[in-house]
């Protein structure tokens, strides 16, 4: 593989020289990343036959797929009313598409729409060699990506703390985990580097395959990874030949205008799988997300989808497609602006409640986006028992920090609070309750010691 070494200077920093090697002239060798199980997945015969439909004569009699007859589906018309009162009526053809099986990688008009948006937002350096698939929520895409990538002896790099559902996925697959501590920007490059060195000299038969992160409004810490830091992490991923799993469900919930380029936008090698979500923006219940990245990796996810859900929910895709079409770019931007305004106000109310009741009791970093605040209790070593055993009685429930730690046996003084759905009054009351709960816990601990 020929690597043309073009050093890109993004920012001259007095302390660090940023260097992303690029661009690979040829394609990366993706076969080394595919797990043994995933490598044995094959397209279904019927999907192969479907290629015949691409250039067929109109006289072709298609007796191949076991599609049920949509004449017998009982739904005839559908209208939805949007915020502001506008009505969207699905045409007969569109509703039909919403009710029948569709392609495993997504409803074509919707996919095309999303591709246009991704190209516009990220201008991926290797866009011509990239593809995009729709998934049943972005988390299903991530779950299937892990199934595709990891053999049990392989290494995966995660931030510590890490999104708890991701840790749940790992606890069942049981790969080797490389945990990397974070600071107020996320994963620390120096710790990442030394942890990877330790992994590859461990004598394991597995290889470090992937690196997972949530670069914007990280769950649970709420931190944003700055541009320089992203470039450093990308450079390390190049050095150790890792796939980067960029999980970015909060990219549209950023409160200031500071643009943070995605890993996809700096992906000169074709090593990024980017996971986008509509859950925070349009609907979580419709279960629609999408994955962008190199086709050989998307193929592994698509084949698994073919065998499991067959295709992402068609009606959900149709509705979002119609919505985005009706909005156009302007309407979408306005909606994002509105939700950012809402969540910013929620954040402000939360910070106010924290300042009022928890100054001197907890520490926190003010999040610049998303829906979480990561609180550290100053005089407790662990918050689990307090929250799980006494929190409900104290009328306040947050998630104990231990839930997000790679090693959940170690005590953690942290807690994650979500400010998305509570009112400012509830936040005030909640933080007041939390302050009392913590005080009681401190007293309880001192009577024990």
């Amino acid at each position: 593989m020929l690597i043309a070494c073009i050093v890109i200077f993004k920012y001259m920093n007095s302390k660090t020289l940023l260097c992303i090697k690029g661009a690979n002239i040829g394609m990366m060798d993706y076969s080394k990343f595919i797990s043994k199980l995933s490598s044995r997945r094959k397209p279904s015969c019927i999907s192969e036959l479907r290629r015949a439909l691409d250039n067929c004569s109109p006289s072709l009699v298609w007796l191949a797929s076991g599609m049920p007859n949509p004449e017998k589906f009982p739904f005839r018309e559908m209208t939805v009313t949007l915020e502001g009162g506008k009505k969207l009526t699905l045409s007969k053809e569109t509703l039909s598409a919403g009710l029948q099986y569709g392609p495993s990688h997504g409803y074509l008009p919707f996919r095309n729409q999303l591709k246009r948006m991704v190209e516009q937002w990220h201008a991926p350096p290797r866009w011509a060699e990239s593809d995009l698939i729709v998934t049943v929520g972005n988390q299903d895409g991530i779950s299937k990506a892990l199934d595709m990538l990891l053999d049990p002896e392989d290494f995966i790099v995660v931030p510590d703390p890490c999104y708890s559902d991701f840790l749940c996925m790992l606890s069942s697959l049981a790969p080797q985990i490389v945990a990397v501590s974070v600071d107020d920007q996320g994963m620390r490059p120096d710790i990442l580097q030394s942890a990877l060195e330790k992994a590859i000299s461990s004598g394991s038969t597995g290889i470090p395959k992937a690196l997972y992160l949530v670069p914007n409004s990280c769950n649970p810490t709420g931190t944003n990874m700055g541009e320089e830091r992203r470039q450093e992490i990308y450079a390390i991923a190049q050095q150790y030949d890792l796939i980067i799993l960029e999980d970015d469900p909060y990219c549209f919930l950023q409160f200031n205008d500071k643009y943070l380029p995605s890993f996809l936008s700096m992906d000169v090698d074709g090593r990024v799988l980017r996971f986008d979500s509509f859950s925070k923006v349009v609907s979580s219940g419709l279960r629609i997300g999408f994955v962008t990245g190199p086709p050989p990796l998307l193929q592994g996810i698509t084949l698994h989808m073919q065998a499991s859900c067959i295709c992402p929910p068609m009606l959900s895709q149709v509705l979002i497609h119609e919505l985005l079409t009706s909005w156009g770019d302007e309407g979408f931007k306005k909606h994002i602006s509105d939700i950012c305004q809402f969540y910013k106000e929620q954040r402000d109310a939360m910070i106010q409640a924290l300042k009022t009741h928890l100054t001197g009791i907890c520490e926190w970093i003010v999040p610049e986006g998303g829906i979480f605040v990561w609180l550290k209790v100053l005089h407790l070593s662990d918050t689990s028992a307090m929250l799980l055993e006494r929190g409900a009685k104290g009328d306040i429930v947050l998630v104990p920090g231990r839930e997000f730690m790679v090693d959940s046996t170690k005590p953690s003084p942290y807690m994650r609070a979500a400010y998305s759905c509570v009112t400012p009054e509830e936040m005030m009351k909640g933080m007041e309750n939390l302050a009392k709960l913590i005080q009681k816990e401190i007293e309880l601990q001192s009577t024990h010691t």
Partner: protein, 381 residues
């Protein structure tokens, strides 16, 4: 029954996500509880407010704003509670599972996703899998990566032959088997679930053929410990079946009631019966000297054997397009895809009677040409 021996290590490793478990706290919470644990987005910011679906019989399902919130927000992994209740009632009514109290149900994103998760729960590379042959390609797709050792059981018009099944399993020592005599309702073939005295059946149901395939709604019924493993897998992957789809199915079933539901399924049955009859007519007209088939007593497929062709694979994949007919070569349904297969599957669900006639005519030409080709290949060998 002890279920742990059926589970893979990966499935055994699954633990509940604490955050989803904490969401259950809300059910018993005092109204004073301030819940800041779940990372739910605020549904007020979702742009869909309300909706309306008109049915083919002219009636309407109204999705008022509160119901629309249920369509758009995260929900419980096992399923939208009103739908779960409806499906449990329906299952109990149709099957009266003997050990119902020990069973549970989960709504899945299509029944195949349930099947996939159930198989992934149990199968490790190299495991033995007993399956009827021919076998649904979707199941083979799920199993293929695990390189299973298939025990394919041949069948007749009634499906899997018990003698063949016993013979295949004879190398293992059977445990005590209970007698499963049961009164059989006359017009409804008894499900395995309805005779499940041991609690060893996982049943996969689907709405794809009767309500909609695109909504992606199916459901799994089975022993609690096994359904729980599927729930835990769903919890970290798709989270739950699409909420709007679940709400629509639930509202429709509510509007129809039992009477309306069975009236609809009767209508679907009658429709597919007409399609089958038209297909048989076309097959009899064009293929009676070339193919053999059994009359399907349900469903949407005709399974054709071509006794004079050694293997239908190349005939279909390489030459059928030129004859303007496509069906599925039987090899796709065989556990061992290295062996030749004389069968083909034709679906009669969507094609019109006119096209059935044309399709069978084209197929007859294709087969005749293939016979000539086969002969000339044989004589040149």
């Amino acid at each position: 029954m002890k279920y742990s021996r059926f589970l893979t290590q990966v499935s055994r490793n699954r633990q509940p996500s604490l955050i989803r478990e904490m969401t259950n706290l809300l059910a018993q919470a005092s109204p004073e509880l301030v819940f800041m644990a779940g990372g739910l987005p605020n549904a007020q910011m979702f742009p869909f407010q309300a909706g309306s679906i008109t049915l083919k019989d002219g009636r309407a399902l109204t999705i008022h704003p509160k119901l629309m919130m249920d369509c758009l927000q995260y929900g419980p992994t096992p399923g939208y509670p009103p739908l779960v209740k409806q499906l449990k009632d329906l299952t109990q009514q149709l099957h009266s599972p003997p050990r119902w109290a020990e069973m549970d149900l989960i709504v899945t994103a299509g029944s195949q996703d349930g099947l996939c998760k159930a198989l992934e729960m149990m199968i490790s590379p190299g495991d033995y899998v007993v399956t009827q042959e021919p076998c649904y390609t979707g199941t083979l797709s799920i199993l293929k990566p695990y390189k299973p050792r298939y025990l394919p059981i041949s069948g007749d018009q009634n499906g899997m032959c018990p003698e063949a099944l016993k013979a295949a399993l004879s190398k293992w020592k059977p445990e005590e088997v209970q007698d499963t005599e049961k009164d059989v309702p006359k017009d409804f073939p008894p499900s395995f679930l309805s005779m499940d005295v041991d609690c060893r059946v996982i049943r996969f149901d689907s709405f794809s053929k009767i309500l909609s395939s695109g909504l992606r709604i199916g459901y799994v019924t089975g022993p609690k410990p096994l359904v729980e493993r599927i729930v835990l897998h769903a919890q970290v992957s798709l989270l739950h079946a699409p909420a709007m789809s679940q709400v629509l199915v639930s509202e429709l079933l509510k509007l129809w009631g039992d009477e309306g539901f069975f009236k609809h399924t009767d209508a679907v049955q009658a429709f597919y019966l007409d399609q089958r009859n038209a297909m048989l007519e076309a097959a009899e007209k064009h293929l009676s000297d070339l193919c053999e088939w059994a009359v399907p007593t349900g469903g949407m497929f005709l399974w054709l054997k071509v006794p004079k062709i050694h293997d239908t694979w190349d005939m279909i994949l390489e030459r059928a397009l030129t004859k303007n007919v496509i069906l599925v070569p039987g090899k796709a349904f065989m556990c061992d895809s290295s062996k030749p297969c004389q069968y083909m599957r034709a679906a009669f669900s969507i094609v019109s009677p006119e096209n059935m006639d044309k399709g069978c005519k084209n197929l007859a030409e294709l087969i005749r040409e293939e016979m000539v080709l086969q002969e000339s290949n044989a004589s040149s060998d």
